[in-house]
Subunit: 500 residues, 4 copies
Amino acid sequence: MDEVTGAQLIAESLKAQKVDYMFGIVGVPIIEVAMAAQAAGIRYVGMRNEQAVEACRLYSKFSARPSSLEAIPSVIEKAVRTSIYGRPGACYVDIAGDMVNAKVERSKVSCCPPPPVSLADQGSVTEAISVLKAAKTPLVIIGKGAAYGRAEAVLRELIEMSGLPFLPTPMGKGVLPDDHANCVAAARSRALLQADVILLFGARLNWMLHFGLSPRFNPNVKIIQVDLCAEEMGNNMRPAVALLGDISAVATQLLLCVRRDGWKYPSNAEWWSTLKSKIAANAKISKALALQSTVPLNYYTVFHHISQLLPHDCIIVSEGANTMDIGRTMLNNYLPRHRLDAGTFGTMGVGLGFAIAAAAVEASQNTGRRVVCVEGDSAFGFSGMEVETMCRYSLPVVVIVVNNNGIYSGVDSETWKAMKQMGELTSVAPPVSLLPDARYDEVMKAFGGRGLLVRTVEELRSALQLSLSDWERPSLINVLIDPSSDRKQQEFPWLTRSNL
Amino acid sequence: MDEVTGAQLIAESLKAQKVDYMFGIVGVPIIEVAMAAQAAGIRYVGMRNEQAVEACRLYSKFSARPSSLEAIPSVIEKAVRTSIYGRPGACYVDIAGDMVNAKVERSKVSCCPPPPVSLADQGSVTEAISVLKAAKTPLVIIGKGAAYGRAEAVLRELIEMSGLPFLPTPMGKGVLPDDHANCVAAARSRALLQADVILLFGARLNWMLHFGLSPRFNPNVKIIQVDLCAEEMGNNMRPAVALLGDISAVATQLLLCVRRDGWKYPSNAEWWSTLKSKIAANAKISKALALQSTVPLNYYTVFHHISQLLPHDCIIVSEGANTMDIGRTMLNNYLPRHRLDAGTFGTMGVGLGFAIAAAAVEASQNTGRRVVCVEGDSAFGFSGMEVETMCRYSLPVVVIVVNNNGIYSGVDSETWKAMKQMGELTSVAPPVSLLPDARYDEVMKAFGGRGLLVRTVEELRSALQLSLSDWERPSLINVLIDPSSDRKQQEFPWLTRSNL
Amino acid sequence: MDEVTGAQLIAESLKAQKVDYMFGIVGVPIIEVAMAAQAAGIRYVGMRNEQAVEACRLYSKFSARPSSLEAIPSVIEKAVRTSIYGRPGACYVDIAGDMVNAKVERSKVSCCPPPPVSLADQGSVTEAISVLKAAKTPLVIIGKGAAYGRAEAVLRELIEMSGLPFLPTPMGKGVLPDDHANCVAAARSRALLQADVILLFGARLNWMLHFGLSPRFNPNVKIIQVDLCAEEMGNNMRPAVALLGDISAVATQLLLCVRRDGWKYPSNAEWWSTLKSKIAANAKISKALALQSTVPLNYYTVFHHISQLLPHDCIIVSEGANTMDIGRTMLNNYLPRHRLDAGTFGTMGVGLGFAIAAAAVEASQNTGRRVVCVEGDSAFGFSGMEVETMCRYSLPVVVIVVNNNGIYSGVDSETWKAMKQMGELTSVAPPVSLLPDARYDEVMKAFGGRGLLVRTVEELRSALQLSLSDWERPSLINVLIDPSSDRKQQEFPWLTRSNL
Amino acid sequence: MDEVTGAQLIAESLKAQKVDYMFGIVGVPIIEVAMAAQAAGIRYVGMRNEQAVEACRLYSKFSARPSSLEAIPSVIEKAVRTSIYGRPGACYVDIAGDMVNAKVERSKVSCCPPPPVSLADQGSVTEAISVLKAAKTPLVIIGKGAAYGRAEAVLRELIEMSGLPFLPTPMGKGVLPDDHANCVAAARSRALLQADVILLFGARLNWMLHFGLSPRFNPNVKIIQVDLCAEEMGNNMRPAVALLGDISAVATQLLLCVRRDGWKYPSNAEWWSTLKSKIAANAKISKALALQSTVPLNYYTVFHHISQLLPHDCIIVSEGANTMDIGRTMLNNYLPRHRLDAGTFGTMGVGLGFAIAAAAVEASQNTGRRVVCVEGDSAFGFSGMEVETMCRYSLPVVVIVVNNNGIYSGVDSETWKAMKQMGELTSVAPPVSLLPDARYDEVMKAFGGRGLLVRTVEELRSALQLSLSDWERPSLINVLIDPSSDRKQQEFPWLTRSNL
């Protein structure tokens, strides 16, 4: 009889499902599982804190508590399978502590196959095409589902063959490059407002897309919704056509129609002129802001220069309020699944964890890709101690803290000192203020990483170049910006704050 | 301004979603909603009890509590839509009591469109066909999903063109008629045990199908799984081919291949001989049991005669232990969605409610179809007072209580009296015993329905004929059977009890 | 080694905690537990239905799921102990099905001792006495906690020595007899409204006491709250004095003060005149209603005659809307813990179960006490099939169904027929209507019990006398009353309906 | 009409309940509440992260979600009241975001009175005294409940008058000074093992007291349990006598008996000799360890010197594994409620938050008391960023990180470098290792606090003296100890790890 401990069985079951990395917090009895995982060839990354474990269970797609050791391999198979079949999502397996050291006969469930693929019915595809052809001001929105569904090649061909303008959602950025000629992200509000037909690939009309509602959307807009989840169809907006199926497969169905018909949206349409002039106007405003180099710097200048220096294949992780909102518009993605936008999760403090996970994978696979983590100073505080984890494993993450001394806005050192004279700070300091000029860079240095404080464009550029050139250890660039810096005026103030 | 109360808004929102019937228990503040529903043209059926309201919420596919009156129409639309899109399931909307009488401007969300349809990818379809062609002992299983997906026409063509044997699950009964030449239900155990390829249409390999496991299944069986729910793929058994999509659409894809190839499983295959001889052998045993007419009767005789008299288009509702298990094999269904098998819900006491709902619909649509509700005596006790509801609304349901004086088995009157001498019944009576010869028929009579007590074949036949001929009021036929009557010997005792 | 099955261990653990009765629904694997319970000397009563099992867990004071067989005795001890220590309440123990037949070494935890007793601090007692002495219009309210705390003897002495008027809550009825000279229940609204000091013994100022709020209470009323649960102090109303401790013990502390001081509230106080004249006035109105004997009868006449015939030591169970509200005022209790008022649970359908439980206990202990269950017709429908349980175990419960053809109000047969002409009943029948003149008495007869239909005073009296004289079997008296009968006019319509 | 916003109403309701401090994380819409709190005179401390919000709700004694703005004052009153009445515990009030800016008429519920007090019944007190008098080897255990119940004065008198040995639980430390002549903490295991009667004041026999079970306890030990929570009586161990009531009040009852009888446990009893010689022996071992000054230091040396320098009135917060376990035995408390032992909560990461809260209160009240926070290095990582909060508000907390490079145990720099050569650290590094010699002191310096790295006794002493002398800003002393340092051998290895 081939006996193993529960810990070994867990580790081997995960390995059988092709899980190559484990992230965790160590305590008894996790130590045994972590060690068994390493023995089974899984890399283990020990974190300093993990948030909201109970929350995991509540928001999981599937959760289970194996009733016996024997059930562990199949429960783990089901959890992994469920997490990737249909709409992807977290699964939660809760294993009783006393199982870890108990003995059981070794057993294994082989790795679950890739998810099954389905297509839209041909009638609906034909209908979608005719709605699209009839559009005066069409728009394609590329969402997270297109990224997960690895639809980049077919969508590029579809966009280029059809000549349609497109817009990525935050997690859809990079499915097509942000600098693609058909990308109208720089005229986002205008595009959403005036589109008469929107072709939605794996994007949800949630708060990030203003629920598809007026005044942000044309009240008569027709939606062609492409999604692999039936229950998602019609949420918030009734689609004119619902195409249920795998995003790549459905995009291919649409592409075949377009190719067969030789149809193309005219590049000289007035809609293109409108969009292009709006893009140009916006670019001008952003450029004006970005070229200001008065110290302290503003957000736009900071992101402009970061954008210029980042390699096209880097993975961008971002979290914060203004930092994430503005960064999303200023930092281009050129490749799919190269962005982890923490904001869509609605939880602060996940950014550094995402960056560590990404860096651990890149490091072990020698991809030569950098992980850049752009954090607001408040967001950084949620899990800043994880820089020790980066240092411990020599993960060359570049952390950029865009530091405005607060949440939404802070105050400068002089004002802070003045407030201190006025009374106890717990009574007088604005709740949104953090300590002025906090040296987050020194926190990184405390663990042997590189820490850099920058105030000017020159300092920023050289710090970033230095950090990017170093593959041995992580860096943290603490960019002190104007505490009163804010987003440029938005056309619609409603729901522009994305992390509320 | 066009103002309505919350109750009216709820009623109108339901009507807008084409909800035509409401079932409920009355209490304040439900009265207002029920009356508003009637005013909006919804028929209201007041029940005597409802089970497990909290449970509803826990097991719902979607549950919501509108935060404002204004949100009610869209929450109701989402609940109705979610209940029919993807895998069908209950949804739960919890409306705060104080909303019912509050005033709000009238508003409406139009009825959600029918669910979107998706297809399997063609490569997998081709693969499925070649697995099927290579099978020596193939079997088709037709499940509830095929009934919900209205796949009856295409499945009949597929079965007949391919010449394959098939087996329905309890709720899949009637998608093809139970007396179809290719139906091998009467050799169910043998078919499951020896099949080398199983083509599964919208059926789950749950406990009712013994989880697809040995010793009930060939351990090397290949499964071709057709389902509209990705997360269902691979549950309990790894499929050889997974065809994700609408059951009708995928069956059509398979049919086109079969038709194009002109392929047919040979009717002279040894597999057919095996199945047919097993069917004949089983029929012989059942017939022997069914022809016994000693009083008290056994289950098989009872169901044999019921089966002969029921109209082919009647709706059969069934619940109980042996009553449901044996009834399922003895009472044929000839039409899809004409059977409500309470056992798959795992809850006793839903049968009469199902029957009332079905009868209310048939009555208001003048379909001329009967609803026949076959109950074990224990099951009947869970909600027997609902016969008052049948009488109140003059719903001509035929309730047949197969009465063995207990749960699984009871004792006869003589034994009961003897036990009474032995000590207090709470100390000596078997927990599975109910009162011998309880007159459930009198319960129906108490409310003006027809009640009939039968002990012999002749009484049973004439009672059933009488009941079926009366369209004015419900009947209850109380069939006293031998308390020690049981199922015939099963090949596999394991998990043959379906309602545990 | 002394091995037993899990079922035996459960049964023996319950018996060790002095559990003498078990009530349940039979299914696998409950059969084994029920049989083991009987073997351990526990009486088992099999019911036809049980409501809201999941709800049990949610509203339990303590719930646990033993992680091993070995833990069962101590988990059961803890559950029993927790249910009786502090504020009494249900506990929930969920035992995994596969434990029932597993083997384990026999073990036992001895029966938990009676709850510990605590007293109020003397300073607060003194303060309470002086608040009481200063009162012009004092009132004592005797609640459920006084009944549970077995405070009847000391409270009677306290009431009689102090000469204070008192009022019982529904479940506090009988702690002192309802016909006690100091009972002012017949002037309840007036007493609550004008009291300037209220001494609350184990009663909660919940909806049944109008939350202690104006306009039902004097806005300046001072509350002296006696309760054994600290967290209950100050709920809804801030007490002038909070006396935390066992109700009997604290009442004794108060009694000692009163006795020592020789203080007595003057029987010639104006407050007593006010209350007595109000009692007389109310009695006159009730009597006038009660003496009406026009057929169909009204509620007051029915309860008046029932009241006259019931033995003083009978146990009254009640549930319904008007039936429970009016019955509570008309049916006297003379002994503590002789009333089960289903309404305080807010759930319909528990009345028959309560009656069966009470009757099983009385029967096995040969107390010679009757159980009388007074049900509204709608309430009866929730679990009417339980009359079979009464018959099965020959429990001589007297069930009285006060039948008004509906919920709150019904219609008579003529009106019903007329409605039937108007259209389908599901469209036109008021949601509150039940079948007119339903023969609930026949339901009892169906199982061998006595069923009696009564319409007149004479029929009612003779039916009740007959039922009370029969100790061999249960009876059901179906009292057809005027469907439009209602409560007499209430001073405050607000929250007079107690079961909403 | 006097209108306020929801935020103001929340703030004023909290202030009315005498809430003087608010701790939180800022986000919209918390900003408004925080600002309103400051306006209402509540001090606001903005934290960097908060753990487990959902968990709060699950483990709360009471949780509510006000259904209207008007309900907020009374819900807050109930939450505050419930948190301090009966067994103290957290309460959770969840206020809908859209209430914060809505308008409502100002209203207030006055502050809830102090909790009501109850006493044990005199019979049980007498019984307890006779059990105590009959004891050969008695022991008093002083728990958290005694500290909450402010029983220090009466317990000191009781201990001194009765001459009994006592032992504090972690949170009971300081109710009597740890250096009291009757304290036998230094012979804890022996005292627990041999006591024949244990008098338990507000302490639970949970895992920290080994569930009161053999082999850690005498199997025949008699427990006298003093507790204010009835449901706590008999948990894990059946008490010989249960004294239900307020700890102070019951201790006074016992004291009165002892005083009246003039009873005293003889100071020359053999039990005292046994305990004293065990104390001396243990002291010798600890002293030997504590006097080792080889670098790197061990735990005992570190705590020995810290202990010598801490002011007697300082507040000690502690969290970690070995750090907390050993610190608990080595760092004396001299005053009640001056210790926050994070371990009893079972959650890491709360220590710095506790320290900030304590320091904010001391600062605003100018008590002149220091807050000292002793953290393991792993524990510090859970919320180390909160040192920014300390700096921001100039809270002079002294944080001591006892740094062994890991969880339970780490490795030194040399070993770490060697492992790095062996392969990727995620594959080879022990899961319990953290980065060697991490400079947590630099993290404090990053925000303007004092950071000190120490390796020797001299460095430790001077760093601690320097930190204690500075009232302007927080300090962090990073004490590098031997990564293989461990607890001295324990008599019972079972459950000596307190944070599992």
